[in-house]
């Protein structure tokens, strides 16, 4: 287990309009190296990611979400 290096990052996104965006974002972000798990909460437009920050940075995550077509900002909690 590489849990020692895993960071928990929360992104807040804009413009979720359909539950199908959830699968899309989860796939885009999940494909990144170092990402262990992604959970997208539709109702609150929140994306929770467990990832290895030394492999994939928070900026990479934001970029991946952007590739799926959504703007996201990292959030402290």
């Amino acid at each position: 287990m590489s849990t020692a290096t895993t960071t928990h990052t929360i992104l807040r996104a804009e413009g979720f309009s359909c539950p199908s965006c959830v699968a899309k974002i989860e796939k885009q972000v999940g494909r990144l190296p170092g990402v262990e798990s992604v959970q997208v909460h539709f109702a609150s437009a929140r994306i929770e990611v467990h990832h290895d920050a030394s492999v994939t940075t928070v900026d990479d995550l934001v970029a991946a979400v952007a590739k799926a077509g959504y703007t996201a900002r990292p959030s402290a909690f």
Binding site: G15, C18, S20, A23, H41, A43, S44, S75, F77
Partner: protein, 687 residues
Amino acid sequence: MNPVQKVVRGKWFIPGLSGLLILASLLVDRTIGGELTARWWIDAGAHATGSDVFTLADLLMLLAAVVAGHQIVVKAVNALLTRVIGIDLLVSVAAIGAVLIGNFWEAAAVTFLFAIGHALEAATLNKTRSALAELVAVAPDFAIVLRDGEQVEVPAGQVAMGEIVLVKNGAKVPVDGQVVAGTGAIDEASITGESIPVEKAKADQVFAGTVSRGGFLQVLATGIGADTTLARIIHRVEEAQDAKAKTQAFIDRFSAWYTPAVMVLAVVAGLISGDVVLALTLLVIGCPGALVISIPVAIVAGIGRAARNGILIKGGEFLETSARISAVAVDKTGTLTEGRPELTDVVVLAPGHDRASVLRWAAAAEAGSEHPLARPIIDAARAEGVATEGIPEGVTPVPGKGIVAEVEGRRVRIGNPPLLEEHGITEDNGAGRAATELAAVGRTPMIVAVDDTVIGLVAVADRIREDAPEMVRRLHEAGVDKVVMLTGDTRLVAEAIGGATGIDEIHASLLPEDKLDAVARLQRDGHTVAMVGDGVNDAPALATADIGVAMGAAGSAVAVETADIALMGDNLLKLPEAISLARRTARVMRQNIAIALITVVVLLAGVFAGGVTMSIGMLVHEVSVLVVIVNAMRLLRNQTRPTVPGRPAARRYRPRRAWHAGSPVPDGDSAPAPRRAPRAVRSSARR
């Protein structure tokens, strides 16, 4: 992102471009209408464009359909890959079908309307999330920390526990903490929903995300980052918004079957009638969009609205249950009353004594007692300057009756009438009658006897909160049948308070497990019960009730996490507000389901009766989705009668004592008196 990219990425770009192409196509059709190439599509009879040529107008229309439709197709394919048959697939099949039969206008109209509907949906849905966004936005960005005697500005998340943070006038409090020096007024609206600034002084608690309205505070950080009350509130609200209500789960199951059923229906209808357009139209109008969105949108709006007013609701399910509340059980102490007894009466019964001497003897004896009723007597004696120095000798508590103490060589007894009986004092100077009278008005009397002579009485009472009667009245107004008081106090005291507040039913002299029984009995009578309590001795009853409500939860992490509804402030009127908001939310959910179902039924009937084309179906359908969202957005509006005074009054600076859950009863020098004035101000501002 440069401006061009911004526009292209924006949610309005695709529907906008598609719309322009449709307009251009219509214009070209009117003005030029020229041939472009020979006709190449499948002939579908009367539904085709009717001309035998593929015009420039057709090309533009096709382009419009491709621009608006390609995203939908991509989404549909993505969804299919994750084995979800959704609305996108229905629209894609319909649009592609329309193109294949040469019905470019229908294809363009359907995809355009769908795209614009989605953009509108996204915009309005964001709006319903705005309540939460506001909460997130109050999260402070930076903090001024005192390090080695110097002021250092750091990001709010980098403050360490135990550091001293400076809060200046107009600044946001960056951490949860305790004031160690300075005074200031703090606007806690973001946490408690109360917009009247609270005066903070040493030892008071402050919360991250609140705003200084004056003064200068030094705060010892006790909670940072995700460990602040604000972060917990945001988490709670988000979890609540994501948690599915029972109705929502039903809708999910329903739509999982519904969409494939619509496809089967369309295929069957197409095969039987041989009419491809009919089949495609059925696909479009069968989209469950409004139905799928009807519940979550109401829950998000309802929970968000509540949070903005300092009411945390655990989730959609609790929102639905709260809408059915028919009985409210309240714990007396701390809910209907201030939870802080004060001396109310001193009665002199023996010649040669006066108020001061009765109070002095009582206080002297009680100085050795830990009973909660001792504190108000000692405080009052100190305030009136009659307190004695030193401690009594030989203090003997008599459980349930009072105490006996040796003071200055004399035997002092203080307690209820049974205490005198036990000690064989029969000459009570009328103390028994006076005690009954005091108890009848809700006070707890204690007879004071010195050397076997009754010299007088002192009485202590917990003051009724000023807004308690108003709360009971508004609960009834919100549709609650029964408001029940549960208390461990004696019946006489309980009845006096019940009478003054308009409570429907009183259960007195209860032990914690009796409170649970009382709640369970209400449930057996068919009530949906909400229980309001402080979460400690009421815990069993709170757990049994359908909805457990914690008050003044801002200061208590446990309350925020455990209660089904947590009222962040200390305002009783938030409870009726929460219930009526829950009712309104439940009403909106039902309306939304009705709107969605009626739309589909009417459209279906329209298709079979003829007259409803694919694009009309799409239009009506998208309108129904928007109606559902706008309906939910009504919840975000303030109610006609807010529980906090209007803006002008709220902005005026009115200091009041801070209240904090879980803090010990304040000692003598911070007497509770200042709490009175602002309450009166608030209630008068409401009228």
